[in-house]
């Protein structure tokens, strides 16, 4: 079902999806079906409209903070949530920290450098992350 409902983006080379992504699709069937602009509110501080963008993408760790000894591999699958002119939101199995600078490759195959702005636990299995393009 997952293969039919979402774009695998640059992750197609690796057919094995991370367990937390499989679990996500089992828990929320509609998750990957969301499309179009995200409704906004009067108090919304963001400058640009965000669009649902539910897809697999690849994250490459570029600049790990000196004090953080990461055990994870330098390249991981992430699930994108939304996209705007300024940045991208995604789900990740590992906690990231504000100020970290890494690289995300979407379905178009173009690597984009991002800076992490916020990261919050999202269910038990992963973290929701907000980042801006740099």
């Amino acid at each position: 079902m997952l293969d039919q409902s979402i774009s695998r983006g640059p992750v197609t080379a690796n057919p094995a999806l991370p367990a937390w992504v499989e679990q996500l699709t089992e828990e929320d069937e509609e998750f990957f079906e969301k499309r179009g602009p995200i409704s906004t509110t009067w108090e919304e501080p963001r400058r640009f409209v965000r669009f649902y963008h539910r897809s697999l993408a690849q994250m490459d760790y570029l600049e790990n903070p000196p004090a953080l000894r990461r055990r994870a591999p330098s390249s991981l699958a992430i699930v994108t949530l939304d996209l705007s002119r300024e940045g991208i939101g995604f789900l990740h199995s590992e906690q990231l920290f504000p100020g970290e600078r890494h690289q995300i490759t979407l379905a178009d195959g173009v690597p984009r450098k991002v800076e992490i702005v916020w990261c919050r636990r999202w269910r038990d299995t992963c973290f929701a992350v907000g980042s801006r393009f740099v």
Partner: protein, 326 residues
Amino acid sequence: MPLAPTTAGYMPIACSTLRTGAPLPFDLYVRMEHQQTRNRGGDHFALYLSRDHELSARDIAEFDDRSAGCLYIQFDASIEYSGYLQRCAEAEGDQNPLLRYQTVREAAKAMMLDAARGGGVDQVVRISEDFSRELVKSAASGELPVRDLFGLMEHDYYTFTHVCNVSTYSLVLAKSLGISAPAELEQIVQGAMLHDLGKREIPAAVLNKRGRPTANEWRLIQRHPSDGLKELIYRPEFSWGQLMMVYQHHEKLNGRGYPAGVGSGEIHPWARICAIADVFDALTCYRPYRKPLSTAETLSYLERHAGTTFDPEFLLCWTSLFREDR
């Protein structure tokens, strides 16, 4: 006594740091609290003694009576005040640890204030490094009983007072948890000194607001741990524990804190120390919208949140320090 034109531009100093027999290198002010000034909104200050006045023992006794142990100087005089404290410390040689502690803290506060007005993060980091070294040294030279320390603290919740208080409480708690290596203690003090670094991004109008913050203001306030971490994350001189003190001091063990909402197993022990010190100081300080709680009320509040917000073992250690002291 003439009223100073604005509330901005004054910092509190403890009367006990002033010495007799030498001319003051700065003007001294008192805070006015009568109805007229309250009606104008904000605090107002009046000139109490001008610079070059030679203090007598009687002057100091009068300060304590009239200003509850707290006087003010203009921000512009912070460097003169810092130099004055250093000269006093040198002149007095070996002091008792509490007096030495107070001098170290006051000097750091004056420098921190100067940095906050225009200095970059580098300056703040340098001051926090000096302060942590001196504070750990003064703690090593003798006992710093927590109740005596509490009496010395200023309780007015200016940001710079708050970070000095939180660093001191963090040091005391870390020591009583069994951390004894000076290098580690210095790191903890420095982490605590920088825990609110991200508040530099919050407008003073929001920080000092008397009423309840709006949703947007609250969002802005909640960003300060992330903003602080962003400033420091790629600096190689900081350990992970220090960075987590900055980032995780508002996290709760039940996962309902901010910014990340992580649970007990993911919160660094130093951040748990900082969380207790931070809330203890916030509640025992004077705020524009409420009176300070007593230590007994504050400890009881903390105990009610043991296990959900605060680490129960660390908290037990903190509360027992006050009980042992009684």
